[in-house]
């Protein structure tokens, strides 16, 4: 380090440059070289642009942790911003924008204002982007200084790159502020369209994307713009093509039906460029295919004759093949079904299991979609079943069930073939489907009862889905043929109601039992009644969602097929980020959302938990970090928040229910947990809200948790524990059941007897292999986590016990603190936290023998430090 410092002060420029390069190299590999800050900064006083770039790079990286020192560079920035060399002027403006230190922004405004009017286009284009950067830190400043107006002027700049960046900056500000700063008027529109021809390829994308957000006044204007946009479909850059497609599709809606000729002409024009996209790199193909998936749902006729281009090449990547299959199913028709079936049959013999299964399932979906071709599809499925390939057979059985539901009593001749393959079935879904078929067609299968009997032997080991299906099928069988199956039905009802701890299964068992014992005729009506015929649109998107997504073509939203607000964490510019982070139920990522929490301002009570703020001075009471786990659409009109907390040595699951649209007062529920990695289960299944929650209000309650080893799912060695806990809640008012999953915040499991002797700690710490160490750096700590005393107190409230602290030798201002904790299961964890005075960040290092749980303990410490 000393040597490096000497080199940085060298008078030889080459030595200096090399030294800065070495510093940057260390920074890149994650070494902390912030102590060289002033030395590196000194090097900036140079006319050498290469050296300047390097120093600025270093500055950007450390400005966050060294805001005070960064201010020393202000003079250089201001000076460089009026250098005679435009490259240096631009570099200064670009770098200043990247330094997010409040006091720098004050100094940024004047140079920026000059740069926006600089005679050199390179400086202007850099300044344009810098306005967007500034808006992100200080939106008020941007508005005060009139920068938005200047950006508007840049749209008609003579230089295409300046136009491009001006448009980009304006759209970004429009997006983040929610204000219409773009203000597209007739004259702005003309300017944008004119710039479209002159602009760089990226600029064309920015312009097209902002055009897509504009709504033309009428059909004629829409048509006029489309005409100017269509030439972009020929661009070599796929991003330009995709954005042009988006504009055209969105505007086509406005053209109205009276203009059907023009629409037909456009439809013809759109097909070739879409097909061409499929000749690009696989990544682009993937993007294109996800978008085409939406396009064919919205306007099937664009690609109706192009199904062949979606046939899979043998060496396409799997993810491309999967997407192509989806589109084939959407485009299949009476005209091309024979060809498609040949293709699908071909795919069903390939090697990739997932792809093969999807191909088999696709054949069934074709049958469901095209009545006149159903028979041919089934013939192919039967052929495939003859191959006896395990997963092919299982997938075929699953999809044949759907075919039966679509066309009741039409194809039962194939049941015999299916029954021949019972032994192959080992997956729950396939078994459940087969059992459903047996129950449904019990009267046509001679030995239906024997077949069910074989499944019943293993009833207790089966997956819940299979158990439910077995229960129903046996009851169906009994209703159709009471004499021979009396024993069997009795046995199933016993097993379901008495030996199972699955609430669904028990409930269904009891209902059947009561029906059968009181009114067998009613039972027949209920159990054997006609089921609604399934439709082929099962896989289509809702029209409302589809319309939103069409407007989102060429964005990530169109890849995920989800509206943007479901995954974009909205940030209000300039303010500490506010999270309205919705936990995504479908997302089974089993790690904590570290990054999202990262930006949360410490201790702010996001969910308005009333009186549970952790900011009460130095009085730390553990609180449950509540997350939204289910919305009203899933939970019968109730919005559910949940989290875990320990109090008085007991572990509670905290539940907050908001009665959004349940339609009545709600107070009584039953709860059941699926097996989980921690062996948690409710001590009492009843959940009562007192007072009852009336529509429009919300209530909180706690469910005590017990530790039950039988409820624990072992985690295989070397794997990380899944923190997810799956919960079923039954609404006792209407018997509706809903499910959600909540991640356990591990600190609630730290037990009060985790304190350790110093010597024992040291011994334990040393005995654990360094390879099992886990690291994390927590930055942007709230004020109450930067003082070691405060952290110590707060941790104590969570049973994280202080062992010792000591200053780090040779590193001024740095201190390490040791803690120990023990989970209620008896697993011990040891942590070393490093703090540095004046820096609001900490390093966490964690060691444990219970490696699978280590990640959770580490995350728990991190989130406590952050105060969320």
């Amino acid at each position: 380090m000393h040597e490096l410092r000497m080199e940085l002060h060298s008078t030889d420029r080459a030595v200096k440059v090399d030294a800065v390069k070495k510093v940057i190299a260390s920074m890149t590999v994650g070494k902390d070289v912030s102590m060289l800050f002033t030395d590196v900064l000194n090097c900036v006083q140079t006319g050498n642009i290469e050296l300047k770039k390097l120093v600025y790079l270093y500055l950007i990286n450390y400005s966050k942790t060294q805001p005070e020192l960064t201010l020393l560079a202000v003079n250089t920035f201001v000076k460089d911003a009026s250098d005679s060399n435009p490259l240096i002027r631009a570099l200064a403006v670009r770098t200043m924008g990247c330094i997010r230190v409040d006091r720098i922004t004050e100094y940024l405004c004047d140079p920026l204002s000059r740069a926006l009017r600089d005679e050199d286009p390179y400086v202007r284009k850099t300044a344009a982007v810098c306005v967007a950067k500034l808006y992100d830190i200080a939106p008020d400043l941007v508005e005060e200084r009139g920068f938005i107006e200047i950006l508007h002027d840049l749209i008609s700049d003579s230089n295409p790159s300046v136009v491009a960046n001006g448009v980009a900056a304006l759209s970004e500000i429009a997006e983040s502020s929610g204000k219409d700063v773009m203000r597209i008027t007739a004259s702005v529109l003309q300017k944008l369209l004119a710039a479209l021809n002159e602009c760089t390829e990226w600029g064309q994308v920015f312009i097209l994307d902002s055009l897509a957000k504009y709504t033309p006044a009428d059909g004629r204007e829409a048509e006029g713009i489309i005409e100017r946009v269509t030439p972009r479909l020929q661009h070599a850059n796929s991003a330009v093509v995709m954005s042009a497609v988006k504009v055209i599709l969105s505007y086509m809606e406005l053209m109205g039906s009276q203009n059907s000729d023009a629409i037909r002409a456009l439809t013809r024009k759109l097909a070739p460029p879409l097909v061409t996209l499929l000749n690009s790199e696989p990544e682009i193909q993937y993007v294109a295919l996800r978008n085409i998936n939406l396009i064919v749902q919205k306007r099937p006729n664009i690609l109706e004759n192009e199904i062949k281009v979606f046939f899979c090449k043998y060496n396409d990547p799997i993810y491309v093949k999967m997407e192509k299959l989806e589109i084939i199913i959407k485009l299949v028709s009476e005209k091309n079904i024979d060809q498609v079936l040949l293709e699908l049959k071909e795919y069903a013999t390939e090697v990739d299991v997932d792809f093969v299964r999807k191909a088999v399932s696709a054949i069934g979906r074709c049958a469901v979609k095209l009545e006149r071709a159903a028979e041919r599809c089934i013939a192919v499925l039967l052929e495939l079943i003859q191959t006896k390939v395990n997963y092919v057979v299982q997938e075929a059985v699953i999809v044949i069930k759907d075919v039966f539901r679509r066309y009741p009593n039409r194809y039962e001749s194939i049941i015999a073939t299916l029954c021949d393959n019972l032994d192959t079935l080992d997956e729950p879904l396939a078994k459940a489907s087969m059992i459903w078929i047996i129950g449904e067609y019990a009267e046509r299968i001679d030995n239906a009862d024997e077949l069910l009997e074989t499944f019943l032997e293993t009833f207790e080991e089966e997956d819940p889905a299979v158990q439910l299906q077995l229960l129903t099928a046996t009851v169906k069988c009994f209703l159709k043929n009471p004499e021979d199956t009396q024993d069997m039905v009795q046995r199933v009802l016993d097993m379901a109601t008495e030996e199972s701890d699955n609430p669904d299964l028990r409930d269904r068992g009891f209902i059947y039992w009561r029906l059968l014992s009181t009114d067998p005729d009613a039972a027949k009506i209920v159990v054997l009644g006609d089921k609604p015929v399934i439709e082929d649109d099962t896989f289509k998107l809702e029209p409302a969602l589809l319309n939103i997504l069409i407007g989102q073509i060429a964005t990530l939203s169109s890849i995920y097929h989800k509206p943007p607000d479901s995954f974009v964490v909205r940030r209000r510019a300039g303010l500490p980020t506010e999270e309205d982070d919705e936990d995504d139920e479908e997302d089974d990522d089993d790690e904590y959302d570290e990054e999202v929490r990262d930006s949360g301002a410490g201790g702010v009570d996001l969910l308005d938990m009333g009186g549970m703020s952790v900011n009460d001075h130095k009085q730390f009471t553990p609180t449950a970090p509540m997350t939204r786990v289910a919305g009203p659409e899933k939970a019968g009109g109730i919005e559910v928040f949940s989290g875990f907390v320990q109090e008085g040595g007991k572990i509670f699951m905290e539940l907050e229910f908001s009665n959004v649209s349940a339609g009545q007062d709600i107070s009584t529920f039953a709860i059941q947990l699926n097996k989980n990695a921690f062996g948690l289960s409710p001590a009492n299944q009843q959940v009562i809200f007192q007072p009852p929650i009336s529509p429009g209000s919300s209530g909180t309650t706690r469910v005590e948790m017990a530790m039950n080893p039988a409820m624990q799912v072992p985690t295989p060695n070397g794997q990380n524990v899944n923190p997810q806990i799956q919960v079923a809640i039954k609404n006792m008012h209407n018997n509706g059941v809903f499910y959600f999953a909540v991640n356990l915040n591990f600190e609630c499991l730290f037990s009060a007897d985790g304190e350790m002797e110093k010597t024992a700690f040291i011994e334990a710490w040393k005995s654990i292999d360094d390879r099992h160490e886990l690291y994390a750096t927590v930055s942007d700590l709230p004020a109450d986590s930067t003082s070691i005393e405060d952290v110590q107190q707060k941790f104590a409230a969570y049973n994280i016990f202080f062992i010792a602290r000591r200053p780090v030798p040779n590193a001024e201002g740095q201190e390490v603190v040791y803690f120990s904790m023990k989970s209620v299961h008896g697993m011990t964890f040891f942590a070393e936290l490093t703090f540095k005075r004046g820096v609001n960040a900490a390093k966490v290092c964690l060691k444990t023998e219970a490696t699978s749980y280590g990640g959770l303990a580490k995350s728990a410490l991190e989130s406590l430090l952050r105060g969320d």
Partner: protein, 411 residues
């Protein structure tokens, strides 16, 4: 290895979760190239064993992101060599930072033209000899014609045009065409003085029909895309291709043709599994259907065989054929395949007995070849006119070559 944060809403920790979930999973090529982990979207592509990953929390344009990543890889190839690897990256870290800063600002791609970048960003301390004045440089970086610098001089004015076609074919085992198309590219190497205006013409059916035809064969082009130097508005209006070319090599256009394709090779396969999967008998006939004035080079015909092949007895009339276990195929190479020639290969393949017989997936036969002076689509260059103030004379050379793209025949 190297990371540049353009915005501060994604941190380095996010990169770790990508490393754990994607890189460590090693499921290369099966997972989609866009992955969402903890509300952060990762868009990635690969070069050798390196991942180039873009991270974002916003609803970005994914095509734009990928196009930028491809551009970045292309730029790095230009600076560090086609096959640049981890070491090359590590040794040139500061250069890469510099390139990344210049080509992207706050998440918005900027000028990515390698020729222009080279003017002011270079390896080490070597300065380009003709480093332009800063103001001239900046107008170059931001200019309307950012792909060409001013004041270029060549002693001889020349243009080389290569029309490269690759034929994609997917034939079912019964011989019906499932998919067939030609992807063409027109590559140019221009050595022209000044800022010349070029006009280029193919035997595009739409253009020639309009001109009442000159009796020659025309081709129906389904779709084409152009280098950004081509004026798209003009093309849309009257299908003329006009442009000011970059200096040196570039791809002027790509096109796609699906009708009336002249397949250079016909393949008639007969592959049978015999004696309860202990033997496979193969008989494949290959016919070159192009003119006997021409010939194909680098012909490789890969005939797949089951994994448990023990030996293969092969008979073929010319070229060299052998069983290559690592490819699970009989690979037959012919250096020079004359037009109108016909050839048969037969093979008896013995299989090793397997304890658990698995059905053979019968992958398709694949062909590779090159046929010079032949275009499968029938496309040819009608003219290239160069206009420059000084009115110099330009020499033009045109070459054609057709290659196999995905040329597959199912068996």
């Amino acid at each position: 290895m190297i990371s540049r944060q353009y915005r501060d809403d994604v941190g380095r920790a996010a990169a770790d979760s990508f490393r754990l979930q994607v890189v460590a999973a090693k499921e290369t090529g099966t997972d989609a190239p866009i992955k969402r982990i903890e509300n952060c979207s990762f868009l990635y592509t690969r070069h050798l064993n390196m991942y180039f990953v873009a991270m974002t929390r916003s609803n970005v344009n994914p095509a734009l992101v990928f196009e930028y990543l491809f551009q970045l890889v292309k730029i790095l190839k230009a600076y560090l060599g086609e096959e640049f690897d981890e070491n090359a990256m590590r040794n040139n870290m500061t250069l890469i930072y510099e390139l990344m800063d210049e080509t992207m600002d706050f998440g918005y791609p900027q000028n990515c033209a390698v020729d222009v970048l080279r003017l002011y960003i270079n390896l080490g301390n070597v300065k380009p000899q003709d480093e332009p004045e800063p103001s001239q440089l900046t107008s170059q970086i931001t200019g309307a014609i950012d792909w060409r610098r001013e004041g270029i001089r060549h002693k001889k004015n020349e243009v080389y045009i290569d029309v490269l076609e690759s034929v994609n074919l997917l034939l079912s085992s019964t011989g019906s065409v499932l998919r067939n198309e030609v992807q063409g590219a027109v590559q140019m190497n221009t050595k022209l003085t000044g800022m010349p205006e070029c006009k280029f013409g193919l035997n595009d059916k739409l253009v020639i029909d309009k001109d009442k035809g000159d009796g020659k064969q025309t081709v129906e082009i389904d779709d084409c895309t152009f280098h950004r130097c081509v004026r798209l508005g003009k093309f849309d209006a009257d299908r003329t291709i006009t442009f000011i070319p970059p200096d040196g090599e570039f791809e002027l256009m790509h096109y796609r043709v699906t009708d009336n394709i002249n397949l250079p090779f016909r393949v008639i396969p007969a592959v049978q599994e015999e004696n309860n999967m202990t033997k496979v008998s193969i008989n494949v006939k290959v016919i070159a259907s192009f003119s006997d004035q021409l010939f194909a080079t680098h012909v490789v015909i890969k005939i797949p065989v089951p994994k448990n092949t023990s030996k293969a007895k092969i008979k073929n009339s010319f070229g060299r054929a052998k069983y290559e276990p690592e490819q699970n195929a009989i690979v037959w190479r012919v250096k020079r395949f004359a037009g109108k020639a016909e050839c048969i290969i037969t093979a008896d393949v013995d299989l090793m007995p397997m304890t658990r017989p698995k059905p053979w997936s019968r992958p398709p036969i694949q062909l590779e070849f090159q046929v010079p002076m032949f275009t499968a689509s029938g496309v040819h260059v009608r003219f290239l006119r160069v206009y420059d103030k000084s009115g110099y004379h330009t020499n033009r050379w045109v070459r054609y070559i057709t290659k196999a793209g995905n040329y597959q025949i199912r068996i």
